[in-house]
Symmetry: C2
Subunit: 413 residues, 2 copies
């Protein structure tokens, strides 16, 4: 088993072989990867079965076993998603800006690959393929460090990808897997500044915190979403109900699901009974502030509840006296992922847009749209909740860097 | 003396008071700051004299004492540079992109302030004013942590700035100074993720390394520049000499000065004697590879020399057999700041642009142009040598973030 350092070094060495490829060359490689995934579906599923067996032996919950599982349909879906990436425009080489200085220097700001992208993630083996292919299309090599639960699947998937790459101008080392799934290998990877240009953690809050606290490699923090729906005094209450139910219950385990409902006091008495009934019909537990509980039946919401990303059929509810109180509540408790105001008052919406300091701020729409696909990016590497580099959904353009190209005729200072 | 935590907390609380200001409001505040600097010039100079006295007592080199020193002329220059910042366009609110989704959602990507910017820097007190004013103009509060050598000057400058802000809608806490100049205060600040959105170190390589190694707050790495001039086989050798002398000797202590000369073997015999003579006339020491020393008089260049940012009248020289060898040498030794190719061959220039992976890549111009002012940004917060967020000179736009604003009419998923 090679060390994480060796894996990083090889990814770095291979980065030039992918950095210089044209869009056509990269797409051809991706199509070969899709083909190889289909051709080796049986082998992939066999290896995946080993992971599943170990997981069941360890007593893993069946919902998690399901996330780990690859069958014929899922491998086909993986291959198809690789093919879809070929349809996306290549961000590399895009001239973002271009200008001429009074001294005649022509300056171009051009998108370039990041170099080597490190991904630390947990059990789902489909991330192995998704992340590898997005990195390749963006012109970067990738060092993947998945969890031990999926190690057999991951090894097999990366082997299949490397085999496809060996038929192209891209070095198979452009996709490296850290086969050592010990905690130490992750910790080492977080400090491999000599090989990695950026580190993206994908997984639960614990993993992300550990990466942020320990990494010296620049990190893009992803994921945790304590998202809010604020129903303003002038809201269309039918629309508010639809959006609330969608944002809270359509899928609960995702970062763009709503966790807290804020209701303006002047509509609390008319809205809360309707909202409460609709939430209860979806089996959603309601944790309410004192004023909420004076209007509908709810458990008591604590300070800690308002700070919690439930990722479950639970919602905290608070009645606020003004839009300012709603904004202050969001400022205090939000992870600054996605928030929505439901209002017919244009000025209130403008104020919410201006003052709410989150990656995605909505007026009259569900927070569930914060997603690379829904934004039209075609694919997604995660959703950034930090302000540096990328914020919100990260597509291909967000995992590139830029450089300046300057043309002169002998200019000196 | 307040703790660094208290200073951070106050800067964070004040960030809303600056985030929401219009360009006119920010410019008025800046003009008041410029006025206050002029009015309190005597007090500033008095306080600065205390720092100078301590520095001389400690035996500080006179060249460093000079960097620390403020006199009437320098305070006036500071005030004038604050006024210049008011002339720059406000990046906040700029709609970077705007599109509509098939479901009718209107998505806007809008530039927003970073929030709270932390700056850790060394002796020069002018950074205190420059950095504070750039942050304010970009809509962010700032937590300044300068070195102990300038502490009296820094306290006085920040007091003057705060006094000016107290007459505006911007909270004086939008500019906070960490008065504790112990190593511990800097280390604590590097981990203040709850208050700081980004940390920018400005200073020597040691400071920057320490911040990169210890910070959990996202960092923009700045500064170190091991820059290269490559003279290609088809170079205009007169132009090459002018650019080399400018890049190496016009100012030696700056990050965009050249440190290594690479010369194609086919022009080494004609170029090196001319270049060597011109460098010697500027009292520049020459450290050469074996092939260089076969042509001109030079000391022996070691591996370590090629990796050194001399910041002095010293240059390392290497003869290369091809443009590929030049690019490989740069890939191995460069800090990826700025590199230049001197050539009349358009294809060689294109290859250099494509394959050299540095923040600024030049064709037939001096590396000394990698500078916010020279790029036309009007002001500069430093020069990033990392690939995340900002690369190369950072002006006002580079110290902002963005958010997505999404307008709906009730859309759900």
């Amino acid at each position: 088993m090679i060390t994480v350092y060796e894996a990083g070094e090889r990814a770095k060495k291979a980065s030039k072989s992918i950095m210089l490829r044209t869009n056509d060359e990269k797409n051809s490689a991706l199509l070969l990867i899709a083909k190889a995934l289909r051709e080796h579906a049986d082998m992939i599923i066999e290896e995946n079965k080993k992971d599943i067996a170990v997981a069941r032996e360890k007593g893993m919950k069946e919902s998690l076993v399901d996330r780990l599982m690859l069958d014929g349909k899922r491998v086909e879906a993986l291959a198809a998603s690789v093919e879809e990436i070929t349809l996306l425009p290549d961000p590399v080489g895009e001239v973002v800006e271009e200008w001429k200085r009074p001294n005649g220097l022509k300056i171009k700001k051009v998108k370039v690959p990041m170099g080597v992208i490190g991904i630390i993630y947990e059990a789902r083996p489909n991330v192995t393929v998704d992340a590898a292919v997005l990195c390749l299309k963006s012109g970067s090599s990738v060092l993947l460090r998945g969890g031990s639960d999926a190690i057999n699947s991951n090894k097999c998937l990366v082997e299949v990808i490397k085999k496809a790459l060996s038929e192209t101008l891209i070095s198979p080392d452009a996709v490296m897997l850290c086969e050592d799934t010990s905690r130490e290998s992750a910790t080492k990877m977080m400090k491999m500044n000599q090989y990695l240009d950026v580190l993206i953690p994908r997984g639960g809050a614990g993993l992300i915190r550990s990466v942020v606290e320990n990494a010296t490699v620049p990190v893009i923090e992803t994921g945790t979403g304590n998202c809010h729906i604020y129903v303003d005094e002038s809201a269309d209450l039918d629309m508010a109900k639809e959006i609330l139910i969608n944002a809270k219950t359509q899928r609960t385990g995702v970062c763009n699901a709503a966790e807290t409902l804020l209701v303006h006091a002047s509509v609390a008495e008319s809205f809360l009974p309707v909202a409460g009934k609709a939430l209860s019909e979806k089996n959603c537990r309601i944790l309410g502030c004192e004023k909420t509980r004076a209007i509908i039946t709810a458990e008591e919401a604590t300070e800690a509840d308002f700070a919690t990303e439930f990722l479950d059929l639970i919602i905290s509810v608070k009645v606020v006296e003004s839009i300012d109180e709603a904004i202050s509540h969001i400022e205090k408790y939000s992870t600054h992922h996605s928030e929505a105001i439901i209002t017919e008052d244009k000025e209130a919406a403008e104020k919410f847009f201006r003052e709410v300091n989150s990656a995605a701020v909505y007026h009259n729409a569900s927070t569930r749209f914060t997603d690379g696909g829904e934004f039209g990016f075609g694919a997604e590497m995660g959703i950034s909740t930090q302000k540096l580099h990328a914020r919100g959904p990260m597509g291909l353009r967000e995992i590139t860097s830029y450089k300046y190209i300057i043309e002169g005729v002998g200019q000196i200072r």
